[in-house]
């Protein structure tokens, strides 16, 4: 069975199914689903012939299955009429357009579409589409709708709820129930997602990641164990994997790429945006257990001639994207480190003060080759949130934050726990 990419149910419904000789068997009208797994598997395809007979075709007998062509391995004459039973679970009859409620029974939205994906060669339900684009897709005007919206400067993205957020489905259900509350579905913390992910099989994990939006996927990936991170990225579609990596902090992305084969890592780097790729590339060159390997290249650097209030203005603009904002570093035009100010210093200083006049110049720094344990000792000894990494000429390369080394400071047992949950 050749199965390419993800597919929405509405994209294949009413599509003709061809037999081995290329003759039309009928059109797809439904899918029979086998429950039990986290991601329910599609067992057979319901095809309705021109004479309105129903034929159930087991999925193993499907030869091609994509948005354009669906074909079966049998000849038309070999296919006998067969109806789905009352107790079977059918996507269109039993799932599509059904109400979704949260754990408290609060109505949220209806199932606008269902996303199918490949889990170990089986076609499975991986997410329900509850967004506006799902409705447009059902009307077969997704493309026009998106363009029209684009004219007004809006973009419509799919709003997917991964199948594992839903209670197990069973025949004759009247609504789909979420495992979580409504607020959580949009504000689901990445670590919650990571927790759910850790309970699913590896195939499920990849499927789940495919169903998340890039931003969420990047955050959730960050919360997972290093080994798992690499495996998931390895199994994912390269385009999407590189998009997710771009959205991660360079040091984390570098860690993941470091765990992959060199070949794969290079491929993904090539697919990434140039700027992000360069940052990651730089980090990859350092040994993993040194300051250079731990550091992130993102830090807040300002020139010394700015006032405190200028700094705040800039912070408000930039900081949503920056991991660590507890320190700002004062640098010259070619990134030589001159001084540092903590957030506390800035808040207490007069808004009109020039930062080069109030900055602290006695700075603890490390070099890229410094061993990670040394870095950890330094950070814990001086109670720092981050320590700058500089080269021999005192040029700023990046910072190692307390988050990056906290695992080294914890006893091994709690370290594992933190990663798992």
């Amino acid at each position: 069975m050749y199965f390419v990419g993800d597919i929405f149910v509405s994209e294949v419904l009413k599509k003709p199914v061809l037999d081995r000789a290329g003759e039309e068997v009928g059109r797809i009208t439904d899918f029979l689903v086998r429950t039990g797994e986290v991601f329910p598997r599609i067992e057979s395809v319901v095809v309705t012939s021109k004479k309105r007979n129903h034929i159930l075709i087991p999925f193993e007998n499907i030869n091609l299955f994509n948005k354009r062509i669906i074909s079966v391995k049998n000849f038309l004459s070999e296919l006998a009429e067969q109806k789905a039973k009352e107790e079977d679970l059918l996507i269109c009859r039993d799932l599509l357009d059904k109400q979704i409620v949260d754990v408290y029974g609060v109505k949220i939205v209806r199932v606008n579409d269902i996303k199918l994906g490949d889990i170990e060669g089986n076609l499975c339900l991986i997410a329900v589409d509850v967004g506006f684009s799902g409705i447009l897709r059902r009307l077969s005007i997704e493309h026009i709708g998106k363009q029209l919206w684009g004219l007004f400067g809006y973009s419509i993205s799919s709003k997917l709820i991964s199948w594992n957020f839903l209670q197990p489905i069973e025949p004759k259900l009247t609504k789909l129930t979420l495992r979580i509350t409504r607020q959580k579905i949009s504000e689901l913390h990445p670590s919650d997602i990571a927790h759910i992910i850790s309970q699913v099989s590896l195939n499920g994990k990849t499927a789940l990641f495919n169903s998340l939006d890039l931003e969420k996927a990047a955050e959730a990936l960050h919360e997972l164990e290093p080994g798992t991170q690499a495996t998931i990225i390895d199994r994912m579609d390269e385009e999407k994997a590189s998009d997710i990596l771009e959205r991660m902090h360079p040091d984390e992305a570098a860690d993941i790429l470091g765990d992959l084969s060199e070949e794969k890592a290079q491929e993904l780097l090539n697919k990434m945006e140039k700027e992000e790729a360069e940052d990651v590339q730089e980090l990859l060159e350092h040994e993993e257990d040194t300051a250079g390997g731990l550091m992130t290249t993102e830090y807040l650097g300002f020139t010394g001639d700015m006032t405190v209030s200028d700094v705040f203005k800039n912070l408000r603009l930039m900081s949503p994207d920056v991991e660590m904002i507890y320190y700002i570093y004062i640098i010259d035009d070619i990134e030589h480190l001159l001084g540092v100010l903590s957030m506390k210093d800035l808040i207490l200083a007069s808004p009109m003060a020039i930062i080069s006049e109030i900055m602290r110049t006695k700075i603890k720094t490390v070099s890229p080759g410094t061993d990670q344990m040394k870095v950890a000792e330094l950070i814990s000894k001086y109670n720092l949130y981050a320590v700058p990494v500089v080269d021999e000429e005192n040029k700023m390369l990046g910072i190692v934050t307390v988050d990056d080394i906290v695992d080294l400071l914890l006893p091994p047992s709690s370290r594992k726990k933190r990663q798992r949950t």
Partner: protein
């Protein structure tokens, strides 16, 4: 008739009586809204008793259609929009929601026109009455004391009884009325056809079916209790049309007899002159205001409920904005647009009211056909599918409306065809 229910329940207190007032009575009574009063008055004033036979006929059809809605609600526990979405998918849902949106918007505008017209009788400018009315209506639901208010306003619907008294006091020729009730009357004339569609559209409005079914579901009536719901629905239909009947009779005997056409609320108020004399304006004004406010709440509510059902959003009166954002947004926007169209373009208020009913009459067949598909589906209704009798009458009504609509279009362009 209302007295009869009252005596049967006399052991209970008055408040409890109000509390058990069924969805059927509310839905039908809210149907006698600004547009309803205007349409029946105009029908009586322009055509005398010629519409009585139609009114008599559609009373039974109203009862049958309402019974279908109530039965679907009881059996499935779902609203009409719920069923449409689950049975027909996105395309048909979107189509029916757009139609409902359009029809309901027209009716909502007519309710605000009713508020404006009734208060203009008391010398209040529409530029004051409409924004204030809109604000009041919005606050009643969003700030959450609506259920109590609804009961009070239903009680005030008793003002309609003044039409009954007025109709009797006008001393109509009862024998003539009786014969007109059973004598079909039709004329190939765009005005007559338009009025026919409006009379049907205001009596059996699409929004009433959505409202009634949701209300039945809301009450949680079980299949075993269905026979009571049926009584409630039948009673509501007959009481409502009984009043409509007297509006037509009163208007026919006072206005048609003296060749007075209705161009404003004060013309329509003259139908109450036999009862109230000089004070007929006050009586008519209060009645119209009450009916308009009640329906100006119910219409946007029904629309917001139906849309929420169709798209699966949380809904409900007394919910906070964060709990039901789409529901409350639609309710709010609907009120604003409804009020806007009465103030800004400054059309004749009576024209607005009549127009909305025609729109509803034209849209009704589509909703009726959809209802018929649903109620005859054994997967949805089980053994409670429609009887052949109900199918023929409601299907026949839908077909009749389609024919009338075609005739309206043809007669507008080719008045001399027949």
């Amino acid at each position: 008739m209302k007295l009869k229910i009252f005596s049967r329940l006399r052991r209970n207190k008055f408040i409890i009586f109000l509390a058990i007032l069924g969805p059927g009575i509310i839905a039908s009574n809210a149907g006698n809204d600004a547009g309803g009063i205007a349409t029946y008055s105009i029908a009586g004033a322009r055509e005398g008793l010629r519409f009585l036979w139609l009114l008599f006929l559609i009373t039974f059809i109203l009862a049958i259609v309402q019974e279908m809605s109530a039965r679907m609600g009881v059996v499935t526990g779902k609203g009409l929009a719920d069923l449409i979405r689950e049975r027909f998918g996105v395309k048909i849902t979107l189509l029916s929601m757009l139609l409902l949106l359009f029809g309901n918007l027209a009716v909502t505008i007519s309710e605000f026109a009713g508020i404006a017209a009734s208060l203009e009788l008391f010398g209040v400018s529409r530029y004051i009455s409409v924004p204030l009315g809109a604000l009041l209506i919005w606050a009643l639901v969003v700030k959450g004391s609506y259920r109590g208010v609804e009961r009070v306003m239903l009680f005030f619907c008793i003002i309609y009884a003044s039409y009954i008294v007025s109709g009797i006091l006008a001393k109509p020729q009862w024998l003539h009325i009786m014969s007109q009730l059973v004598t079909p009357n039709f004329r190939y004339d765009p005005k007559f056809i338009n009025l026919s569609i409006a009379v049907i559209g205001t009596t059996i409005a699409p929004w009433m079916q959505f409202y009634l079914q949701s209300a039945v579901v809301d009450k949680g009536i079980k299949v075993e209790e269905y026979k009571y719901a049926k009584v409630d629905v039948y009673l509501g239909s007959f009481v409502t049309d009984f009043i409509a009947f007297f509006i037509v009779v009163a208007a026919a005997t006072t206005l048609y007899a003296n060749q007075v056409d209705i161009n404003s609320a004060s013309d329509a108020a003259l139908a109450l002159k036999p009862l109230a004399g000089e004070y007929c304006f006050i009586l008519f004004g209060i009645g119209l205001l009450n009916a308009s406010i009640l329906s100006a709440i119910i219409l946007p509510l029904t629309t917001a409920y139906a849309l929420s059902e169709a798209f699966g959003w949380e809904s409900g009166i007394g919910k906070k904005f964060s709990e039901a954002p789409q529901f409350l947004s639609f309710y709010t926007v609907f009120i604003i647009i409804g009020a806007f169209f009465v103030i800004v373009p400054s059309y004749n208020l009576i024209t607005i009211m009549l127009f909305a009913q025609t729109v509803n009459g034209i849209l009704l067949p589509i909703i009726l056909f959809i209802m018929l598909r649903l109620i005859n589906d054994r997967q949805i209704m089980g053994e409670h599918v429609n009887s052949r009798f109900s199918n023929i009458l409601s299907g026949g009504t839908a077909i009749m409306l389609v024919i009338l609509t075609i005739l309206l279009i043809v007669s507008t362009f080719k008045p001399d065809l027949f």
